[in-house]
């Protein structure tokens, strides 16, 4: 749990040094489900073994997770550094709303998430309501600066394996990949998600600005011009 940041967006997981001993497989059911998903997208099965080795080699830099995407730099600082990215389809606002309803169904759900657990019941109920919390193979897309023709490339797969460790430790990382921060999951009433959430925040700001809006007509009025400019930037 040392990696838990209980943070919002982005979540940054420190670089893992070279791992020794038995390979660190995912230990949670949701971590394993995540691994199954991206492993299915692979064309050459041997790549998985190579990618696991790469994940444990210490060559990957810090992993950054933002809403809908995770990225890491391979061999950071070297001339051959590459950025590997995995994109995850975000749940729609409607799906998040449904998820929120499921979360609220039992008061223990949030507590479990806070404790680093993704309750099975919660995910199953959400699934029944049409919301797949764990992304399927079709929800994943990858991008890498390397010139491998097959995607996902080794670098992205290594990133995915490392993500599995982080997801194990903190399921909020998985939820962020699906589009919502911990804050938003905890408090869906205030965190209107995605575009709507963004818009709501900007609208609130505009409302606050409008309270003090200049009352002039704008002719050669710098205050009016500044106001229009400010508001315009929020649109």
């Amino acid at each position: 749990m040392g990696d838990r940041q209980l943070g919002g967006d982005p979540m940054i997981f420190a670089r893992r040094g070279r791992a020794r001993g038995p390979s660190a497989r995912s230990t949670t059911w949701w971590g394993k489900a995540w691994v199954r998903s991206f492993e299915e997208t692979v064309i050459e099965p041997n790549d998985l073994i190579t990618a696991r080795g790469l994940a444990r080699s210490g060559r990957l830099g810090a992993v950054m997770v933002i809403s809908g995407m995770a990225s890491a730099v391979l061999d950071p600082g070297s001339p051959s550094a590459l950025i590997a990215q995995v994109k995850v389809r975000r749940l729609t606002d409607a799906q998040w709303e449904t998820f929120a309803v499921e979360v609220a169904r039992e008061s223990g759900n949030l507590a479990a998430l806070e404790a680093g657990e993704l309750p099975t019941d919660l995910v199953e109920h959400a699934d029944e309501a049409g919301v797949e919390v764990v992304p399927g193979p079709g929800d994943l897309d990858s991008a890498c600066e390397c010139d491998a023709w097959a995607q996902p490339c080794l670098h992205v797969l290594a990133l995915c394996y490392q993500l599995a460790w982080h997801i194990d430790a903190d399921p909020y990382a998985l939820l962020l990949l699906r589009g919502r921060t911990r804050e938003q999951v905890q408090d869906p009433g205030t965190a209107i998600s995605g575009e709507a959430g963004d818009a709501a925040a900007r609208a609130a700001t505009i409302l606050a600005m409008a309270d003090d809006a200049p009352t002039g007509h704008g002719l050669a009025d710098t205050a009016v011009a500044a106001y229009d400019d400010e508001v315009g930037r929020l649109l």
Binding site: T92, D93, A94, Q95, E97, T98, V101, A104, R105, E106, S107, G108, L110, A111, A112, E114, A115, A129, G130, Q186, D187, G189, T190, I192, E195, A196, G197, D198, A199, A200, A201, R202, A203, A204, I206, L207, M209, A210, A213, P214, T215, G216, H217, G218, L219, V224, A225, Y227, D228, D229, E230, V231, G232, L235
Partner: protein, 900 residues
């Protein structure tokens, strides 16, 4: 941004998607047509412009409303395409739209047109605010659920966030038990989780309150937004400690959990402790958890009704005690019916005395056991009852329970504890002696304990008069009519004579009988004293057990310290009303030996040997638990009375010098030698002439004295076997054992160097360090020996020389033993005075070993009877005896049968 005219009419041009709509502002000089991104800044400030055109005002008001909807999250996808729109709107929201349109109509625009304009603009603003087109709606995606609250409320809530975030969110949880009558009647109750502010425990609210805040504002609970998550996390930790609480986490709002009877039992048995461990407190309604305390009582059967006289033999063989366990509310014990109710209950919730109570299941189970097996109390042995009374605890089914003695038992307990300190009884009338104060106290102590059927161990130092104390007890029991049967004294053979003499001397007229030797016999025993040895008792215990003894006394009770020996086992088979153990050695130093002696005196008091080892001996010897040692002392002290000569209360009472004749018997070997010597010598003496006669008489006397000492002495066997041939040696061993145990020192006088050497060899074999001084010891060495003894290098000083000579100062000795007689009191006194002289701080005890029925005893009697005469006659020792006539001489030397 250039000048935008607001005084002229403005026109909204709706487009698809709505974000592409435009607004045309017009003025006297110019017309400006702006896309939504340009128009929105203008419209958000136009309401504040005083002379704006009504059409501008309408659009402006609509824009502000749109902003409010968007800010409150009221955004949704349009049913077709990729556009966003406001909504879904509640009825109240719809009302606001209509009110706005109605309020802002103007000449050219009626309410209906105005509403269309407003709705159009709402969606145009909404679609513009989202910046990006909405994703295509997947087929079958669930429709958005309508919000439960109005936009206004949600907006207020959002604005209130700032306030709520200042409120405390660091919280912990506790549980409040609620017990409405109808739940209690069903044997259940509820727990309600509460949330407390970490920094202010009195800031408390039901956890469920944190959910009610959804309906607007920060709520009255005064907790911040984060408090809810923090509290559920705390609740989850509580559920990990006591899993039944999972039920709360399964609820949408963890408001309350009704506990089933089983769950309640689980809470009481494990939950409370587990929750307390992680700091989750449980608050009970007043009265529900009244203290039901177990009250374990031990009492005589029918206790309380007994009158004082029946105290007699309270702990006797027929005594009945019962252990009774019941619960008490406060100090008021439950009735049998109440106990039965409690025992039969299938839930911890019980109505008792018209009050609901919650009972610990463990207590209920014990009540069930208590009510099941022994409704009237579990019968227990008197000794166990006594032990419980003295230690305040009892072992029940493997558990130690605190116990209170009932009234009768408490009275008995007090009697036992006070026995050694109550005001002393009068000496019994038949006692022909005056008891010293401490002897009276000791006698009273024995009388008190034996009076209620208990045994005791009197462990006074040698010389304090244990024998006379027991004689007083014997007489007392008869005086009070307590006795029914004779007193049996079991002692080492060497002490038989002494006992007999002391009883004759201090209780004249009391019948005495020896049960010892070949012609031992118990027929016709009515009352009085019977003396026997441990050896005889061991082989003849059946005959002894057939007598109904009142009192059995084990003198030198260290003989039974090995409980597994046949001596100890057989002594236990001899029944009596009460038992007294006497010993001069500090038995309390060896717990196993102490157990053996006390378990004989009061069987069962200390529990079985194994239990004793486990409960007392092992913990005490390991020294871990001082409390155990203290409790043990409480248990044992009443039954063990040990006074030291050096005790401040004792020493002043002791005479500086006490002389005791220790009478011992002759062994078969000694009898044969003695009689043969008398027979042969008398024949020769009677036939001898005057000169020869004197020599023969002296030789006879010397020979007889040597035989009385030891056959090896007479037979000149310096390396001959010593043990088992002379009771003087046995008695000496007894005395030395006690003296050395007391840390005393002793002078051992004999006239004969050969005897002294035998003793030296005997003691060396027993690892007793000795010093030896005789007439041939050079003066210089004598001084060294004296110094060695005075400095404590050896506890035994063997002396074989006529007293006088040099001024030996041997004040370290507190005992003097004369192994044989000088037949001259003055000489004996001088010898004794080696120890008893200036500088001596302790009382000196003088023991004179006298063989019974022999010339030693007869001359001793002669000396006592006619002291004046004897002194003149015997002034010259043996020589005077040569003047006796043949008949007188025969009478003097003939072996007299022992008393019987």
């Amino acid at each position: 941004m250039s000048f935008v005219p607001l005084q002229g009419p403005a026109t909204l041009y709706l487009a698809d998607p709505p974000r592409d709509s435009e607004v045309e502002f017009s003025g006297p000089q110019r017309v400006v047509r702006l896309p939504m991104r340009g128009a929105i800044p203008v419209l958000t400030r136009a309401l504040r412009v005083g002379d704006a055109h009504a059409s501008v005002t309408l659009l402006s008001a609509a824009t502000m409303l749109a902003m409010k909807f968007v800010a409150a999250g009221s955004l949704s996808r349009a049913e077709a395409g990729t556009a966003w729109q406001v909504g879904p709107l509640t009825h109240e929201d719809e009302d606001r739209v209509r009110q706005l349109a109605l309020a802002r109509t103007y000449d050219e625009v009626d309410a209906e047109q105005a509403e269309d304009l407003v709705r159009g603009l709402l969606d145009a603003v909404a679609d513009t605010m989202t910046r990006q087109p909405a994703q295509a709606v997947a087929a079958g995606a669930p429709p958005s659920t309508a919000p439960r609250t109005t936009v206004a409320e949600r907006l207020n809530e959002r604005l209130a966030d700032r306030v709520m975030d200042d409120l405390p969110a660091e919280v912990y949880v506790s549980l409040r038990v609620e017990a409405p009558e109808e739940e209690l009647a069903a044997g259940t109750l509820s727990v309600v989780p509460q949330v407390h502010e970490v920094d202010l425990a009195t800031h408390v609210s039901d956890l469920a309150e944190l959910w009610s805040a959804d309906d607007g504002g920060p709520g009255s609970h005064g907790f911040g937004r984060k408090a809810r998550v923090n509290a559920t996390v705390a609740l989850r930790r509580a559920a990990a400690a006591w899993p039944v609480l999972d039920g709360l986490l399964r609820r949408r709002v963890p408001d309350r959990l009704v506990l089933s009877a089983d769950e309640l039992a689980d809470l009481l048995e494990v939950g409370l402790e587990a929750l307390a461990e992680i700091g989750v407190e449980v608050y009970w309604p007043r009265g529900l958890r009244q203290e039901l305390t177990p009250q374990a009582r031990v009492e005589a059967r029918g206790g309380g009704d007994r009158e004082e006289p029946l105290m007699t033999g309270l702990f006797g063989p027929d005594a009945l005690f019962a252990f009774d366990w019941r619960l008490a509310l406060g100090n008021d014990p439950l009735t049998d019916d109440e106990m039965a109710t409690l025992a039969a209950a299938s839930t911890p919730v019980i109505k008792l005395r018209n009050n609901w109570m919650v009972i610990d299941p463990a207590l209920a189970r014990r009540a069930k056991v208590a009510m099941g097996k022994h409704r009237d109390g579990k019968p227990i042995a008197p000794a166990v009852a006594l032990r419980a009374a003295l230690t305040g605890s009892i072992d029940v089914d493997g558990a130690t329970v605190e116990v209170h003695p009932g009234a009768t038992l408490e009275k008995a307990r007090a009697k036992v504890v006070d026995a050694a300190t109550v005001s002393p009884l009068e000496s019994p009338g038949g006692l022909d002696a005056t008891l010293r104060d401490y002897q009276r106290q000791g006698f009273t102590w024995l009388a008190e304990l034996t009076g209620i059927g208990l045994g005791a161990c009197l462990a006074d130092d040698m010389g304090l008069g244990k024998t006379i104390t027991v004689i007083a007890l014997h007489l007392h029991r008869r005086e009070r009519g307590l006795a029914s049967g004779p007193t049996l004294v079991v002692c080492p053979a060497s002490l038989l004579g002494n006992w007999e003499r002391e009883v004759r001397r201090f209780a004249p007229g009391v019948p005495t009988r020896r049960f010892h030797g070949a012609d031992r016999d118990l027929t016709g025993i009515g009352d009085g004293f019977v003396f026997t040895t441990y050896g005889t008792m061991r082989v003849d215990h059946e005959a002894l057990a057939a007598v109904s003894w009142d009192l059995v006394v084990a003198d030198e009770a260290q003989h039974i310290k090995n409980a597994t020996s046949s001596t100890a086992r057989n002594l236990r088979l001899i029944g009596s009303r009460c038992r007294v153990a006497l010993t001069g050695t500090p038995v309390e130093n060896n717990l196993t030996e102490l157990w053996a002696i006390l378990d004989w005196a009061t069987p069962g008091l200390l529990g079985s040997r194994n239990a004793f080892r486990k409960v007392w001996a092992a913990p005490i010897e390991s020294g871990v638990d001082a409390a155990v040692a203290r409790q043990f002392a409480q248990l044992v002290e009443p039954f063990l009375l040990r006074r030291r000569k050096s005790d401040p209360g004792i020493a002043p009472e002791l005479p500086p010098k006490t002389e005791t004749d220790q009478v011992v018997g002759l062994t078969q070997e000694q009898v044969v030698l003695y009689e043969a010597l008398v027979r042969e010598s008398m024949e020769r003496i009677e036939a001898a002439d005057e000169d020869a006669r004197r020599g023969l008489v002296l030789a006879l006397l010397t020979g007889l004295k040597q035989i009385c000492n030891h056959p090896a002495h007479y037979l000149r066997q310096p390396n001959g076997r010593i043990k088992g041939r002379s009771e003087k040696i046995d008695l000496l061993d007894e005395l030395l054992g006690t003296i050395l145990a007391e840390d005393g020192a002793v002078l051992l006088f004999t006239q004969y160097v050969a005897m002294a050497r035998l003793l030296e060899r005997h003691l060396a074999a027993a690892n007793v360090p000795t010093l030896f001084l005789h007439g041939g010891t050079p003066i210089r060495q004598r001084e060294q020996l004296v110094d060695a003894f005075q400095s404590g290098q050896a506890p035994v000083f063997l002396l074989s020389l006529k007293a006088g000579g040099t001024g030996l100062n041997l004040t370290r000795a507190d005992h003097v033993i004369h192994v044989d007689r000088w037949w001259n009191p003055a000489v004996e006194d001088q010898a004794t005075d080696r120890a008893y002289r200036i500088g001596q701080t302790r009382p000196v005890q003088v023991h004179k070993l006298i063989t019974e029925g022999t010339i030693e005893q007869k001359i001793g009697e002669l000396l006592t009877r006619k002291r004046g005469l004897a002194e003149s006659v015997l002034g010259n020792g043996d020589v005077a005896l040569t003047e006796l006539s043949n008949d007188e001489l025969r009478d003097l030397v003939a072996l007299r049968a022992p008393h019987g």
